[in-house]
C-alpha cells in the first residue's frame, strides 16, 4: 500500500498520520490532511464515477466545491450520503466510499449502453418520443427513472444531530483567501465585530498553493501570521469548514458549518453540522474565482483536470497526479502549474491556443525546458477508463481550420485552463447586478446591493497587489459604516504572483477532428452530459433564451449548478446567435451556493420538537389513566379513556351514559379565555358578537357567535360579565389565537378610541367541567357555598371556594346536562381534579374525552364550529337566527348577510338526520343526494357534518348541511356510500334530546 503519485515531501498533509480508507471495497492509504480526491489521486485512482445520462467514465476535475464529476456515495447504512464531492471529503480512518450511478461496477457499467445510443439521445430527446401508445408513458418512465438519479438515499433514520444558530455581526467576510483575510483584518483592527468564513479546512485560499509574495513574505507565511492575529482578537469570529450558502435580503446570510462530519462522529456530542443564520451590517464577498474548462472533443475523460486543481494537489497535498503531463491553455497563469510539475519531476508539454505568447512566457518555457505548441488545439483524447494519449493539430490564423497534420502524443494527465470566472453566485443571489467583462471574458459584479463589497478575483480583479489594497480599503470602509472608525495603518506594501492572470478570450469550443455538431463529444456540463452540439440543437429548435437553452439541454442544472459550465454555454450561444455574451444574458443564480443538508435546515424541528405539544395542568393524570389523545391544534386532549381493552365505541358509550345518568368530568382547560376590561367593553362585544350584550347582568353568562366580515361564522363561546366593565370570554380551543388577534385587530386598527383592553388568560385557568344529574351533589360536597338552582342558576357564574381554592364556577352546559365548569388557577388544577375524582367516587364519576363531548352535544344539536361549519355558513344557515340581533345597527358580518347570494333562500341549512334503518352510523363527510343513480356522477345536495351512535337514544343521529334544509323536515333523503350502498334518512330538527332543556336548566 504505497502512494504511487505521492511526492516525497511537501503539502499540508501529516505524513506521520497515515489513514486507511476504502473505495469501492478496496483498501487504500492516505494521510491526515488529504481529501478523498487527493488520496485517490495519490494512489493513481482516476476513475471515480459515471456521468448522469451517458454513464461515461469520469474522474476528478477540480479540487473544490465546484466539482461536477467526482461524486461518491459516502459511508454506509444510516450514515450514507449520496453525491458527496470527493474533493471536499476530508480523509478519516475507516472512511468508505463508492462510485455512483453504475452497475455492476464503475469499470463495467451496463448503463454505459446509453453512450452507444447517444446519437439518438440528444438534448430533449424525451420530449419527442415515448408518446405511443398514449397511455404508455409510465411504462417508459419506469426505466428512465431508474437510469436517472445519482447516489442513493439512506434507508434508515439519520443518527446525527444538527444545530442551528443566529448570529449578528458588523462585518462578515465570505472567503478567507488573502483578500478576505486582508479585509477581515482591516475591519477588525478598526474595531468592528467581524465574522470570516471559509469552506475549506485550511484558510488561505488559492495562494496556499502558490509562490506568491505578500509584504516580501511567502504568501503562506503571511496567511499564517494574519490568521493568528485574527484568531487572537476577541471581536473576530473565524470559521473554517463553513460555506456561506445563501445571501438573502437585508444581508441575511446562511452558512453551513461542518462540525464533525469530516471525522467519524458516532460518539461525539457535537452536531454533524451547524447551520448559521447570519445578519451582518456589512458584507464583504471575497470568494475568488473558478477556473474555466476548455470545450474540446473528449474533454471529459478521467485524467483530464483543471490546471489549478493540479496545482493544488501538488502543492497542498504533495500529489503529482501524472508524470507525463499535457497542459492545454489559453492564458499565462496556467503556466504556473507547468513549472510546478516540472520542478517535481514530471514531463510537461504545453499546448497553447494563442498564436502569440509573451516573451516572458517564452523565456519561462525555455528556462524550464517546457515543450510548447502555440496556436495548437487538442482535437481528441484517447483512453477508455483514463486518458492515455491526445491528438493535437495546429490551427490556422483565424482559428477556423487546421494547418499541418494531426499528431498524437502519449500523456497520463491532461490539464486545461480556459481562463477564470469570478464566483459571482452569492453576489447574484443578493440581487447584485452582473455585467460581462471582455477583459476576462466572464461576468463580474456591476451594481452592488446596500452595505456590500466585492473584492479581489471575486470582483474580476486579478492583480494581486491592487486586490489587496482594495480589500484593505473595503475592510476599513465597512467598519466605518458600522460606526467603527478607529484609524489603522495600511498594512499591505507589496504583493506579487509569479504569473499574474491577465486576459483570456473565452473560446466557445475548440475545433475537433470531427465537426462539433456531428456527434463530437465537446462537453460543457460534465455531470449532465451536455455537449456543444446540444447547445447548437437548442438554438436550432428555437430554445434561444438562456433559460430555454438551460432547461431544454439541462446545462447548468447539475449539482454544481453551472459553476464549471455556465460561461462556456453562454459563449457557444453567443457564437451561434452572433451577438456578444453580455447580450445573451445569464440565468438566475439561486441559493444555495453549494447543496445544503436538509437535516441542518430542519435542525431541532423534528421528532418531539417538531411542534410543541400543549399540555394542560391535568395532562399527567390523563396519561396515567390510559387516555387516548386527540390532536386539537397543538393541544393534546383526551379523546376517550378506554377501560379494560375497550374499543372506542364501547368506551364512548360508557362515558356518555355516565354523564347522562350520574356524573362525568371533562378537562376543558384548552378552551380559549380572554379577559376583557374597559368602559367600552359592552359596546365592543356588541360589535364582535351577533347578539346583544348591553343588558347582561353582572355574574350572568351568555352564548355568542362571531362572524367574520364576510358574514360567515368563525368562532363561538360563552362570555360572562365578571364586573361592571369586566368580561371573561371563552373561545374554541383551536380558535383562541385567531379570536385574540381578531379582537386586537379591530381595537388597534379600526376602533382606536374604544376603551377596551384584552388579555389572554387561557392558561391562567384550569377548567374542570362536571356534568350529569349528580354533579350538583358532587360539587356541593366540595364547597361550603350554597349552589342550588336559586343561588347558582343556569347561565350564571359565582366566585366560590372549591376544595378551599378560590374558583369561578360557571353553570353552563355543552352537553345538555346539569353542568358546572369549575375554573381554578392552573397551579391548583391537578389538586382540585384529584379532589373531585375522590369525592366523585361514590357517584362513579367518569372522566370523558372529546368524542363523548361531541356525542353529547350532538344529541342536543349544539354545533361545533369547524366541524358543522366550514367557513361558508351564516348563523341563519345554522338555524341560529335567534342569536342574530335585529336591532343592532352594526356588528361584524352583518352587512354581508344581505348580499344577494348570502341572502338567498335555498342555501344549505343545518338539519338533523335520522337513518331509517335505525342502525347505520353515516360516515361524517358523506354526501346527500336527492336521487341516487347506479353509478356516479350524482347531484349532491348536502353533506353529513356530525354523525354518531347515540348511547342515550339507542340509535344513530346525524347533523347535516342540506340545501334548503329548513323547509325539508320530514323528507326522505339518500346517502350513497363508497361501497355502492345507499342509505335512507329522514330530515329532522337537529335537536334530538331534551328539546325543552329541562335537564341543563334544572
Amino acid at each position: 500500500m504505497f502512494n504511487r503519485n505521492r511526492l516525497i515531501s511537501g503539502g499540508s498533509i501529516d505524513r506521520n498520520k497515515p489513514i486507511n480508507f476504502k473505495f469501492n471495497g478496496q483498501t487504500f492509504k492516505g494521510y491526515e490532511g488529504d481529501t478523498l480526491a487527493s488520496a485517490l489521486l495519490a494512489n493513481d485512482v482516476h476513475l471515480i464515477g459515471r456521468s448522469f445520462k451517458y454513464h461515461r467514465p469520469r474522474g476528478i476535475l477540480t479540487s473544490g466545491s465546484e466539482e461536477p464529476n467526482a461524486l461518491v456515495q459516502l459511508n454506509k447504512e444510516s450514515r450514507t450520503e449520496p453525491n458527496a464531492r470527493a474533493t471536499e471529503i476530508e480523509l478519516y480512518e475507516g472512511l468508505e466510499a463508492s462510485s455512483q450511478n453504475c452497475w455492476p461496477s464503475v469499470k463495467y457499467d451496463i448503463g454505459a449502453l446509453n453512450n452507444l445510443f447517444s446519437r439518438i439521445l440528444p438534448a430533449g430527446f424525451y420530449y419527442k418520443t415515448f408518446m405511443w401508445p398514449p397511455s404508455a408513458w409510465m411504462f417508459y418512465e419506469y426505466f428512465i427513472r431508474r437510469a436517472a438519479g445519482l447516489g442513493e438515499a439512506p434507508k434508515e433514520k439519520n443518527p446525527d444531530r444538527y444545530e442551528q444558530k443566529f448570529f449578528y455581526c458588523d462585518v462578515m467576510v465570505v472567503g478567507a483567501g488573502v483578500t478576505g483575510l486582508t479585509a477581515a483584518l482591516a475591519a477588525a483592527r478598526s474595531g468592528a465585530n467581524v465574522l470570516i468564513v471559509d469552506e475549506k479546512p485550511e484558510m488561505g485560499g488559492y495562494l496556499l498553493s502558490s509562490k506568491a509574495k505578500i509584504n516580501n513574505m511567502d504568501a503562506k507565511e503571511w496567511i499564517k501570521e494574519t490568521l493568528s492575529e485574527l484568531n487572537s482578537l476577541s471581536n473576530v469570529t473565524v470559521l473554517n469548514r463553513t460555506t456561506a450558502t445563501g445571501y438573502y435580503d437585508y444581508n441575511y446570510i446562511t452558512a453551513l458549518q461542518k462540525v464533525t462530519n469530516h471525522i467519524e462522529n458516532s460518539n461525539s456530542k457535537l452536531p454533524r453540522e451547524r447551520f448559521w443564520r447570519i445578519r451582518s451590517k456589512e458584507v464583504i464577498l471575497a470568494q475568488g474565482a473558478f477556473e474555466r474548462p476548455l470545450v474540446f472533443s473528449g474533454n471529459d475523460r478521467p485524467g483530464i483536470m483543471m490546471a489549478s486543481a493540479a496545482q493544488v494537489f501538488i502543492s497542498q497535498y504533495g500529489v503529482l497526479p501524472g508524470n507525463s503531463i499535457t497542459l492545454f491553455t489559453n492564458n499565462d497563469h496556467a503556466y504556473t502549474v507547468a513549472v510546478e510539475a516540472i520542478s517535481k519531476g514530471a514531463k510537461v508539454v504545453v499546448i497553447d491556443l494563442r498564436s502569440n505568447v509573451s516573451n516572458e512566457i517564452t523565456k519561462l518555457c525555455e528556462q524550464n525546458k517546457i515543450e510548447t505548441y502555440n496556436s495548437h488545439a487538442v482535437t481528441s483524447t484517447h483512453g477508455s477508463k483514463k486518458v492515455n494519449a491526445i491528438t493535437l493539430q495546429e490551427l490556422s490564423n483565424d482559428k477556423q481550420s487546421f494547418v499541418g497534420d494531426a499528431v498524437t502524443i502519449n500523456t497520463d494527465l491532461l490539464l486545461m485552463s480556459g481562463g477564470w470566472n469570478p464566483a459571482v453566485q452569492l453576489f447574484s443571489q443578493s440581487r447584485g447586478k452582473l455585467k460581462y467583462d471582455d477583459q476576462i471574458s466572464s461576468f463580474i459584479p456591476d451594481v452592488l446591493v446596500d452595505n456590500q463589497y466585492v473584492i479581489g478575483t471575486n470582483n474580476g480583479n486579478f492583480n494581486l497587489k491592487q486586490s489587496l489594497i482594495d480589500s484593505l480599503n473595503a475592510g476599513i470602509s465597512a467598519a466605518k459604516e458600522t460606526g467603527n472608525k478607529k484609524d489603522i495603518e495600511e498594512f499591505i506594501s507589496e504583493a506579487s504572483e509569479p504569473q499574474e492572470f491577465t486576459t483570456s478570450e473565452v473560446v466557445p469550443y475548440v475545433l475537433g477532428s470531427k465537426p462539433v455538431t456531428h456527434g463530437s463529444k465537446h462537453f460543457i456540463d460534465f455531470q449532465n452530459d451536455v455537449t456543444a452540439s446540444d447547445i447548437f440543437l437548442a438554438q436550432r429548435e428555437g430554445y434561444i433564451s438562456v433559460e430555454h437553452t438551460k432547461r431544454y439541454t439541462t446545462t447548468g442544472m447539475a449539482t454544481d449548478q453551472g459553476k464549471t459550465s455556465n460561461v462556456n454555454a453562454l459563449a457557444i450561444m453567443s457564437h451561434i446567435q452572433k451577438k456578444p455574451v453580455g447580450e445573451v444574458g445569464h440565468t438566475t443564480f439561486r441559493p444555495p451556493y453549494v447543496p445544503q443538508t436538509f437535516g441542518a435546515m430542519a435542525g431541532r424541528n423534528v421528532d418531539q420538537f417538531f411542534d410543541p405539544q400543549r399540555l394542560t395542568a391535568v395532562h399527567q393524570w390523563h396519561k396515567d389513566n390510559g387516555a387516548v389523545f386527540e390532536d386539537v391544534g397543538q393541544w393534546k386532549r383526551p379523546y376517550f379513556y378506554p377501560k379494560n381493552k375497550e374499543n372506542m365505541k364501547d368506551a364512548v358509550n360508557r362515558e356518555c351514559l355516565a354523564a347522562r345518568n350520574s356524573v362525568g368530568i371533562l378537562d376543558a382547560s384548552t378552551l380559549g379565555k380572554i379577559d376583557i376590561q374597559g368602559p367600552d367593553a359592552a359596546k365592543f362585544l356588541n360589535l364582535i358578537y351577533t347578539n346583544a350584550w348591553s343588558k347582561l347582568e353582572i355574574g350572568a353568562c351568555r352564548y355568542g357567535l362571531m362572524c367574520n366580515e364576510h358574514g360567515m361564522v368563525f368562532d363561538d363561546g360563552v362570555t360572562t360579565r365578571i364586573g361592571e366593565n369586566h368580561y371573561h370570554m371563552t373561545t374554541t380551543s383551536g380558535g383562541a389565537a385567531r379570536v385574540m388577534s381578531w379582537l386586537e385587530e379591530f381595537l388597534q386598527t379600526e376602533w382606536l378610541d374604544m376603551k377596551v383592553y384584552c388579555t389572554s388568560v387561557t392558561e391562567q385557568w384550569t377548567v374542570l367541567s362536571i356534568c350529569g344529574p349528580k354533579s350538583r351533589e358532587l360539587l356541593a360536597s366540595l364547597t361550603d357555598e350554597n349552589i342550588d338552582n336559586t343561588n347558582l342558576p343556569y347561565m350564571r357564574m359565582r366566585p366560590i371556594k372549591v376544595c378551599g381554592i378560590e374558583a369561578r364556577v360557571f353553570r353552563i352546559s355543552f352537553t345538555g346536562e346539569l353542568s358546572f365548569e369549575i375554573n381554578v388557577p392552573a397551579r391548583y388544577g391537578k389538586f382540585v381534579w384529584d379532589k373531585v375524582m375522590e369525592a366523585g367516587k361514590q357517584y362513579k364519576i367518569t372522566p370523558y374525552g372529546t368524542e363523548t363531548m361531541h356525542v353529547l352535544r350532538a344529541e342536543k344539536g349544539f354545533i361545533i364550529v369547524g366541524q358543522d361549519t366550514d367557513g361558508s355558513a351564516t348563523p341563519s344557515d345554522l338555524n341560529m337566527d335567534w342569536i342574530v340581533s335585529k336591532k343592532k345597527e352594526d356588528f361584524l358580518g352583518k352587512r354581508s348577510f344581505v348580499r344577494s347570494d348570502t341572502a338567498r333562500e335555498n342555501r344549505k341549512h343545518l338539519v338533523g338526520l335520522l337513518v331509517n334503518d335505525k342502525k347505520t352510523v353515516l360516515p361524517e363527510g358523506s354526501h346527500i343526494v336527492d336521487e341516487a343513480n347506479k353509478k356516479p356522477p350524482m347531484k349532491m345536495s348536502g353533506h353529513i357534518t356530525s354523525s354518531y351512535h347515540s348511547p342515550t337514544l339507542g340509535y344513530p343521529i346525524a347533523m347535516a348541511m342540506l340545501k334548503n334544509g329548513k323547509n325539508r323536515h320530514g323528507e326522505i333523503v339518500l346517502i350513497p356510500l363508497m361501497n355502492g350502498k345507499v342509505i335512507e334518512a329522514t330530515v329532522t330538527d337537529s335537536v334530538f334530546y331534551d328539546k325543552e332543556g329541562a335537564r341543563q336548566n334544572d
Binding site: Y127, E141, A153, E541, P595, F598, V606, E630, G734
Partner: protein
C-alpha cells in the same frame, strides 16, 4: 416534422441538423383578432384551443419575457382534481381529462405521470375533511380512495407514520400525479404556432387602449397593436394589467417558493401532500426530491420570498421522511402567485368590453392548465363565460357566492 421515435432515429443520421424550430420569432403585426397576454401554459393553451376548437385565425400571444418563464416553469408540477366544491371539481377534472391525452394531442411529450397523489390525514379533523372531499369526489365521478393508516404505510415506503402528528389515513387520487412543466408551455407553443398563432416573446404590455368602454388594442414594448378581443392571462401580474385597464381585482400577489434536492435514485414513487404537517413532495424523473414551500403573506413582485418559508418546510419534510435528513437542497426558487379571497380562480369578463381575464389561480394553477385554457378559450371565443367558467366570475365577490376551497379546509374546535 412530427415528433416520434422513428423521426428521432432518422434524424440521428443527419446529426439532428434538420429539426425545425419548435416555434419561431415572428414580428408583431399591426392588428390581431385576438391577443392573449401572457405566454405561460394557460395563455399558450388558450391560443391553441382558440385556433383548434374554435377555428379562429389571426391570434397572437404576447409574452413579456420567455414563454413558460412565469409560474408554469416555477411550480412543483403536481396535478390532481380532487377538489371539494362541484364547480372546482368540474373545472380541475376537465383539466385532468385533457392532461391524459395531451402528449398525443400536442405531439410533444409533457410526461404526464399518473403516479397517484396522497393527501395525508393526521388528525380527526383531517379525517373528516378528506372523507368529505373523498365522498364529494366520488359522487362527482372523480376517482377517490379513502385509506387507513396501514394502507398508507404499505403504499409509501419509508414514511414516518408515528411522528408528532401520526398518520391516520389518506385520500388517494390515483389519476393524480405530475407532469414536466416546461414541456407544457413548449408543447402548446409548438402546436399553437402550427395552427398559425404568432408567439411574440420579449414583448411587454405597457398600456391597454380602451375606447367607449371597449378594448381596441395594446401598447407594448414592441409598439402599438390593435385587437378585437384581448384575453389577459398574466399570472403574477394580473393586478398590474387590470390597473392599466382601470379596474381593481380581489387579488394579492404573494411569493411562493419551492426547492429540489440533488438527484438520487428512485425512492418516492407518488405525490404526497399533507396539510397538517405542511408538506408537498414528489420525486422528479431526474431523481430530484421536489418540495413545495408555503407562500408568504406579504405582497411582492420580486419572485423571491423569505428564507424562513424554506426552513419551515424542512422540519415537516424530515419529520415525515426521516431518511431525507442527509439529502441536500440543490436549488430553491420563487414565483409570484395571485391569491383570491376564496383560493379559486377568476375566469370571465371584465368591466371592459371584449377584455377577458383568467387569473387568481393562486398556488394551484399548473394542474388546471389545459382545463383553464380550454374553458377560457371558449369564453373569449363566444364572448360569454363558458359553463365551467361561469361560477368563477369577478362578480362573486360582490354577491358573496364564493367557491371557498380555503374555508372548507378550516380548522377549529
Amino acid at each position: 416534422m412530427k415528433y416520434s421515435l422513428l423521426n428521432l432515429v432518422r434524424n440521428s443520421f443527419s446529426y439532428h441538423e434538420n429539426w425545425q424550430e419548435a416555434w419561431s420569432s415572428p414580428e408583431l403585426k399591426k392588428e390581431y383578432d385576438i391577443i392573449i397576454v401572457g405566454g405561460g401554459g394557460h395563455g399558450l393553451g388558450t391560443a391553441y384551443y382558440l385556433a383548434k376548437e374554435f377555428g379562429l385565425k389571426n391570434i397572437a400571444v404576447l409574452e413579456k419575457g420567455w414563454i413558460g418563464g412565469g409560474n408554469t416553469g416555477r411550480n412543483t408540477t403536481i396535478i390532481r382534481s380532487n377538489y371539494l366544491w362541484d364547480e372546482s371539481a368540474a373545472l380541475y377534472n376537465h383539466a385532468v381529462n385533457l392532461w391524459e391525452g395531451l402528449s398525443s394531442e400536442l405531439n410533444y411529450n409533457v410526461m404526464f405521470s399518473q403516479r397517484g397523489l396522497f393527501h395525508l390525514a393526521h388528525t380527526v379533523h383531517d379525517m373528516q375533511e378528506i372523507t368529505r372531499r373523498g365522498y364529494s369526489n366520488h359522487l362527482n365521478g372523480i376517482d377517490a380512495e379513502i385509506l387507513d393508516k396501514e394502507q398508507v404505510l404499505k403504499k409509501i415506503p419509508y414514511i414516518n407514520g408515528d411522528g408528532r402528528y401520526p398518520i391516520m389515513g389518506a385520500l388517494l387520487q390515483r389519476r393524480g400525479g405530475t407532469a414536466r412543466h416546461d414541456a407544457v408551455a413548449w408543447g402548446y407553443a409548438r402546436a399553437a404556432e402550427n395552427l398559425g398563432v404568432d408567439i411574440i416573446q420579449n414583448c411587454e404590455v405597457k398600456g391597454i387602449n380602451i375606447t367607449n368602454g371597449t378594448v381596441t388594442g395594446l401598447e407594448t414594448t414592441r409598439g402599438s397593436v390593435k385587437a378585437k378581443k384581448v384575453g389577459l392571462v398574466p399570472a403574477g401580474h394580473s393586478s398590474v394589467l387590470a390597473n392599466m385597464a382601470g379596474f381593481h381585482l380581489p387579488i394579492n400577489s404573494v411569493p411562493l417558493q419551492a426547492l429540489v434536492s440533488e438527484p438520487i435514485k428512485p425512492i418516492l414513487d407518488c405525490v404526497i401532500m399533507s396539510n397538517a404537517v405542511h408538506v408537498y413532495v414528489s420525486q422528479s424523473d431526474k431523481g430530484e426530491i421536489v418540495v413545495g414551500a408555503g407562500s408568504d403573506a406579504y405582497n411582492s413582485y420580486s419572485q423571491r420570498g423569505s428564507f424562513d418559508m424554506i426552513e419551515h418546510i424542512m422540519g415537516p419534510l424530515v419529520e415525515l421522511f426521516p431518511i431525507f435528513s442527509r439529502l441536500k437542497m440543490l436549488r430553491q426558487w420563487g414565483g409570484i402567485v395571485d391569491v383570491t379571497p376564496d383560493r379559486s380562480p377568476i375566469i370571465g369578463k371584465t368591466p371592459v368590453e371584449n377584455l377577458f381575464i383568467n387569473c387568481g389561480w393562486g398556488t394551484g394553477g399548473f394542474k388546471a392548465t389545459p382545463g383553464s385554457a380550454h374553458t377560457f378559450a371558449e369564453t373569449v371565443a363566444t364572448g360569454e363565460p363558458s359553463k365551467m367558467a361561469a361560477p368563477f366570475s369577478i362578480d362573486r365577490h360582490y354577491s358573496g357566492a364564493l367557491v371557498d376551497e380555503a374555508a372548507a379546509a378550516a380548522v377549529a374546535h
